[in-house]
Subunit: 320 residues, 2 copies
């Protein structure tokens, strides 16, 4: 286990209420502070969408690799990506923390600042939470979204033959960033690779791309949290179709090739197996929605291929 | 740390997906299994309500005191009580688990059975979750509710002078149960005190009492999770009023007196300081709503008194 580089008194010294104070000061919300948060009035026909994801210290993040702000940004983004992947709009999140009493309270002020910056990017709010003590830092974010109108949500089982597979976001950058951190540590990674490191420590996803995909006729969608082959494979299996990826469309970019050369790793491994990019993968019978590009085709059959042949790397991504 | 008395292969042997499998089999929902859960269409004018609470092994529960089913029931109920305390109706929950790999998978089947029994009692559903590995068992439940119609939610800051304080549920039973467990262990507690032990290990709250209180004119509400004096004090402070409790109305019942005699404890300590009963405390200018009884009066001023004098026990409840 690593320890955060934030100074000052600990949770044990100031108590759990001090943690709640610094969080609500860094990420204020008028909806927070009662037994439960009451969200905005639902618009006509809208449905609520909910998802939850946990980050465990040592397993999903390391204090010597990620700043507290980045951990907060990632905790929010990985949940909001799941909301976007349904074609919905993120509107709120809740934060449950279990922390060793030895953690500096200032860590949580910076964690909450990262959460606040990410939720603000989505015009959302941190509306509630819970802080308790435990042996290990465990951060659980629950995200709530709104699915407007009467179109169905974009589910894993709605891909159909003759659709195209489209993507919004990078492929393999998070995994390459992880490999660089593993080799060099945060301070030692050559400067030109900072975008890859950032993609791992604080992934980004432009708000609203999932809503656009749903509005323009996409039927199935997910985000690549486990790896391109695994996540495309989940859509294929749940929809009863095959997916053929276009080699040219997903070929490693110059930065991935350079990082691969440095580490002696085939960058296709990061593209095909790397997860946590939170890139949106959707299927549609129409032109790619704004911000998306075509990366493959949905066909009759089963499984995932690359230009018609079995991909060299198929396993999913397991960080740590 | 204690270990659960459930047999069979562990999370490390079968993997985290085995945990998801046993949970979704014990608590099935058609809304579960995609990137996020899409809830029911909102009724006109309704608002979503959300809250989250964490149970940490060794801090909030012990395997030698509570069955896995009871832990699941408590994890749901403490969240649903916060939904009820807003005057809302619980409709769904999500479950995030961080678990040591040494935990038997069968533990989670029984935990989920407990969750399922409690959510069914509320006509709600477990609609999603996340399972990851960590050093300690940490169970985070997020509850979602629906607040119908245009009446305001019942908040901590809406008590007004000349209202009465009303309660639905027992006072002090959970704390008495905890004290008995601490002294005798689960197997050693004399049989007549089983209701107190159950109140601690698997608290109950009749579904819908919060909705009834809101519909019949209550203005402020909370549940006594931290202790009667502390929770009534929170309403008093946030509302800028005083609350005077009626000694006769909250006097320890025969079972608490008997347990107090056995343990050499003044049962008033459990009534005034004991938390985790999840009894609803509301203020209203009208007759007590169905299921509630009057236990005090809201007055001009500040603080909480008992028949006009300072209570003998004021601190909140800290289990473990």
């Amino acid at each position: 286990m690593t320890t955060p580089a934030t100074p000052g008194p600990t949770v044990g010294e100031l108590g759990e209420h001090a943690v709640i104070d610094v969080i609500t000061r860094a990420a204020p919300s008028a909806l927070n502070g009662d037994d439960a948060a009451v969200l905005f009035h639902a618009s006509p026909n809208s449905r609520a969408v909910a998802t939850t994801d946990t980050l465990v210290e040592g397993r999903h993040f390391r204090h010597d690799w990620s700043t507290p702000e980045e951990i907060g940004q990632k905790a929010v983004l990985q949940n909001f990506a799941d909301i976007e992947a349904m074609g919905a709009r993120a509107i709120a999140c809740l934060l449950a923390i279990s922390t060793p009493t030895s953690m500096p309270v200032s860590f949580f002020a910076r964690l909450a600042a990262g959460i606040d910056s990410r939720v603000k990017q989505y015009s959302a709010e941190l509306v509630g939470g819970d802080v308790t003590s435990g042996n290990q830092l465990v951060i659980t974010v629950t995200a709530l979204g709104s699915l407007g109108g009467s179109l169905p949500s974009l589910n894993l089982d709605r891909a159909r033959p003759d659709q195209r597979l489209v993507a919004h976001g990078r492929l393999g950058w998070s995994a390459a960033g992880w490999a660089l951190l593993e080799c060099f540590g945060r301070a030692g990674v050559p400067a030109q690779f900072e975008p890859l490191v950032r993609a791992h420590c604080a992934p980004e996803l432009t708000p609203g791309r999932g809503v656009v995909a749903r509005a323009t006729g996409a039927s199935a969608m997910t985000d690549n949290s486990d790896g391109l082959i695994v996540d495309a494979g989940t859509i294929a299996r749940r929809s009863g179709v095959a997916i053929d990826l276009d080699r040219d469309a997903i070929a490693p970019d110059a930065l991935l090739v350079e990082a691969g050369d440095l580490l002696g790793v085939d960058p296709w491994h990061w593209v095909l197996s790397g997860g946590e990019d939170h890139t949106l993968l959707a299927t549609t019978a129409y032109d790619p929605p704004s911000g998306f590009r075509t990366i493959g085709a949905v066909q009759r059959g089963a499984g995932v291929t690359l230009d018609g042949v079995e991909p060299a790397y198929q396993e999913g991504w397991v960080s740590f």
